[in-house]
């Protein structure tokens, strides 16, 4: 691979579907972590229930509308279920319970006896025709796809999925923009800065936190639904804890507590990851797929640590407003 094509592929990934759904999920997580100061370490759990809502509905032939309702409903229920016992406690409890429950949901979906409901370890395939997502595609199939050169190319299906995911990301960003400028959003920020002070001013802190938790979770569920719509299949192996922390990296990289941070973070994150992978593949020949996957995650983990230590405000954030600087 030439350096130019590595660069082109990195750019393609940076605006591609993966970056898009990471951005969308990150908007939800940003509402939790960036604006309310909630340490939700199980965001992937919300994505999972959203995805399985759509997946199960499609498998049973209930259609996409029912699937979306199911996914949103499940995300709300999950948010309340996790939030009510933990949001009145210290932040570390929320972190522990969310990471544990997200992992538990994946294991339950994966377990053999759940196969009738979730398809077990294999999940469901061939959902595309049942979902009908690509039927309204405005992009015509074209040999060679859309794009420039050989690497910076998208298929018509990719473009359709990207259009929807980036579009929803935009909508979610606008929603967050309007919300955080409202009185409600100012309460959220005050909770992040000093929970006791907010309580002293007579705000019911737990209720605000719960609202933010459920809303961010529903945004995460939409990201999960789009993954199923794009792939036309669902399996439990995707919803692992590192996905949550990739989204964390995106939020922090872009700037936690900023409107466009998740979008910028996702684009930059995927550019860097894809570029690093291209370079590794180019320099180090007999490297297996599993090693590349592990290396990618190792780079992400190291990046998350370094970011948190050296630039907690990310690209767009101001250090003054960043949680890490604000509270001890």
């Amino acid at each position: 691979m030439s350096w130019l094509s590595i660069l082109a592929l990195a750019l393609q990934t940076a605006i591609g579907f993966q970056a898009a759904y990471h951005a969308l999920a990150a908007v939800g997580l940003n509402l939790h972590f960036g604006y309310t100061g909630l340490s939700n370490f199980g965001h992937v759990g919300f994505m999972l229930v959203g995805a399985y809502g759509v997946g199960i509905a499609a498998e049973r032939g209930w259609g996409l509308g029912v699937g979306i309702l199911l996914g949103v409903g499940a995300a709300v229920v999950l948010g309340l279920l996790l939030g009510i016992p933990t949001l009145r406690l210290r932040g570390d409890y929320l972190a522990i319970v969310t990471i544990a429950v997200a992992e538990m949901l994946r294991l339950v979906a994966n377990a053999g006896p759940s196969a009738r409901l979730t398809g077990g370890a294999r999940g469901f395939g061939g959902l595309s025709s049942k979902l009908g997502f690509y039927e309204h595609n405005v992009f015509e199939p074209r040999p060679g796809g859309y794009g420039i050169g050989e690497s910076f190319v998208f298929s018509h299906q990719q473009l359709w999925a990207m259009l929807w995911t980036w579009g929803l990301t935009l909508v979610a960003c606008l929603l967050v923009y309007l919300l955080v400028r409202s009185p409600w959003g100012r309460v959220l920020k005050s909770i992040r800065e000093d929970e006791d002070a907010a309580r002293a001013l007579g705000k019911n802190v737990v209720v605000y936190k719960l609202q933010s938790f459920v809303l961010g979770g529903v945004i995460g569920a939409f990201a999960g639904m789009l993954i199923v719509l794009q792939a036309g299949a669902i399996s439990p192996s995707r919803w692992i804890a590192p996905l949550t922390f990739a989204i964390y990296t995106v939020v922090i990289l872009g700037g936690a507590g900023t409107i466009w941070g998740p979008v910028v973070g996702s684009v930059v994150y995927w550019f860097v990851i894809q570029f690093a992978e291209g370079v590794i593949n180019n320099l180090w020949f007999d490297v297996s797929d599993t090693t590349v996957g592990a290396l990618r995650l190792a780079i992400m983990g190291l990046g998350l640590m370094l970011l948190m230590v050296y630039r907690p405000q990310g690209i767009l954030g101001s250090k003054k407003e960043m949680l890490a600087g604000a509270r001890q």
């Binding site: 016992p85 409890y93 972190a95 429950v101 983990g301 948190m308 509270r327």
Partner: protein, 452 residues
């Protein structure tokens, strides 16, 4: 770690132990069906030595086995049953069982095969336990030949007696003690620094992987434990000096530090994966273990050793915390670091010691856990959720609480496997965790304080 809280623990423990014994006893009394399962399994067991004997010479590359069913308490072998081996839908070979029920299907070489038993050819009186398993979907042949097992006769696995309950309970205690050894460091570190360390899982894995390294380099397993624990302690101490102490100096927020531990965890886990591979590996001491009876418990020699080692380590740690100057200092720092510092305790040194202790204990827990399951790069992460459940249940920051919580979580998890499908066992731990947070958020032995 308050005295009155600690005094409460023996009573709680006693109650739990009593409950754990009474419940299965009542269950067993209700359905007194003595299992002959173990005896039957023995009667139908078939080894390679026997196979070679019956075949009359060394086995060719093949899939072999013996059909066997218990009839009137004695093993009976069906003759004339057709066994077909195929690969990717193409039939490779076929054999018919002889008078002794033995079949040997020759193969062209290693690979993954489907083995089918033709039920039409079964003589009268013989049947498969589960007809869905007339075809074994994926029999892997990696060493030239491989045994294929078809379970036959009525399923007796459902029936359980008191011994089964007792043994499951003992296995729960074993897992609980391992979990306690592994998790106590997590709680100690939280006590002295306030940090919830998600990278604790990787400390557990590092111990197990290091022990595997020393073990496969030729050191006997139980000797390899010592350097493995040293590696864990060194890793714990190094992570404090290299990462956590500088971050504490910067006065970094706890939430941000938690995210750093996550980054470290993912980084370390994937480096371990690259170094160790994705497969699971076994210690030399893990093979050739046979269960034997001790009172009502059926345990392997390893199980007993693990229980003894864990109990000794936990008692030693309790004595250290209660009776030595170091232990007193650790308790003082975890009570109030500023007050401890002003009474002349070197807080940084105590925190370093606690990190080393945490690393060493986590490594020991990992080594012992690796002895009960296999060593794998993500074994620590699998255990992490149970460790969190244990620590929260016992009370974040309480060392004794962590051990108590570990026992409760592990026993509940193992015992629940008797009543619900075993692939849902872990749900029990989570259910316990959420229930505790709803009812008693400070945990069984945790300090009462205002939470949120």
């Amino acid at each position: 770690m308050h005295l009155p809280d600690a005094l409460r623990s023996p009573r709680v423990l006693l109650c739990l132990v009593a409950l754990g014994f009474l419940w299965p006893a009542a269950q067993a009394a209700a359905q007194d069906t003595s299992t002959q399962e173990a005896a039957e399994a023995k009667a139908c067991a078939f080894t390679k030595v026997e196979a070679v004997e019956q075949y009359g010479g060394p086995l060719p590359p093949s899939i072999w086995g013996r059909l066997c069913q218990i009839q009137d308490g004695a093993a009976a072998y069906p003759a004339g049953v057709t066994i077909t081996v195929s690969k990717d839908g193409e039939a490779i070979g076929e054999a018919v069982t002889d008078e002794g029920g033995v079949f040997v299907v020759e193969l062209p070489g290693n690979g993954t095969y489907q083995v089918r038993l033709d039920e039409e050819t079964l003589p009268e009186g013989f049947s498969l336990t589960d007809e869905r398993f007339a075809t074994l979907g994926a029999v892997k042949v990696t060493f030239g030949d491989q045994q294929a097992v078809f379970r036959m006769g009525e399923d007796t696995r459902g029936a359980r007696d008191f011994e089964d309950y007792a043994t499951t309970f003992a296995k729960g205690v074993r897992l609980g003690l391992i979990l306690g050894v592994a998790a106590v460091g997590l709680s100690l570190v939280f006590g002295v620094t306030g940090l919830v360390n998600f990278a604790h899982a990787e400390m557990v894995t590092i111990g197990a992987v290091a022990a595997y390294g020393f073990n496969s380099a030729g050191l006997p397993f139980w000797l390899a434990v010592i350097p493995a624990v040293a590696v864990g302690a060194a890793f714990g101490a190094a992570s404090d000096v290299g990462i956590w102490r500088p971050l504490r100096r910067r006065r970094m927020a706890m939430l941000s530090m938690m995210v750093v531990t996550i980054g470290l965890s993912i980084f370390a886990r994937n480096i371990l994966q690259i170094y160790f591979g994705v497969g699971s590996k076994q210690y030399t001491a893990a093979s050739g273990q046979r269960e034997s009876k001790l009172l009502v418990f059926r345990l392997t020699p390893n199980d007993r050793l693990i229980i003894v080692v864990c109990a000794v380590v936990l008692v030693a740690m309790t004595i250290m915390l209660r009776r030595t100057r170091l232990g007193t200092a650790i308790r003082a720092v975890s009570d109030n670091a500023d007050l401890a510092a002003s009474s002349g305790i070197d807080v940084d040194r105590i925190v370093l010691v606690v990190w080393a202790l945490c690393g060493g204990l986590a490594a020991l827990g990992g080594v012992l856990y690796g002895l009960t399951v296999n060593v794998k790069f993500d074994m620590g992460f699998v255990l992490l959720l149970s460790m969190f459940a244990a620590v929260v249940l016992g009370g974040l920051g309480s060392a004794y609480g962590a051990v108590l919580g570990a026992l409760v979580v592990a026993i509940a998890q193992e015992m629940s496997g008797l009543f619900i499908d075993t692939s849902y066992k872990f749900v029990t731990a989570m259910a316990v965790l959420i229930l505790v947070l709803l009812i008693r958020p400070q945990g069984i032995l945790g300090k009462k304080e205002r939470f949120g």
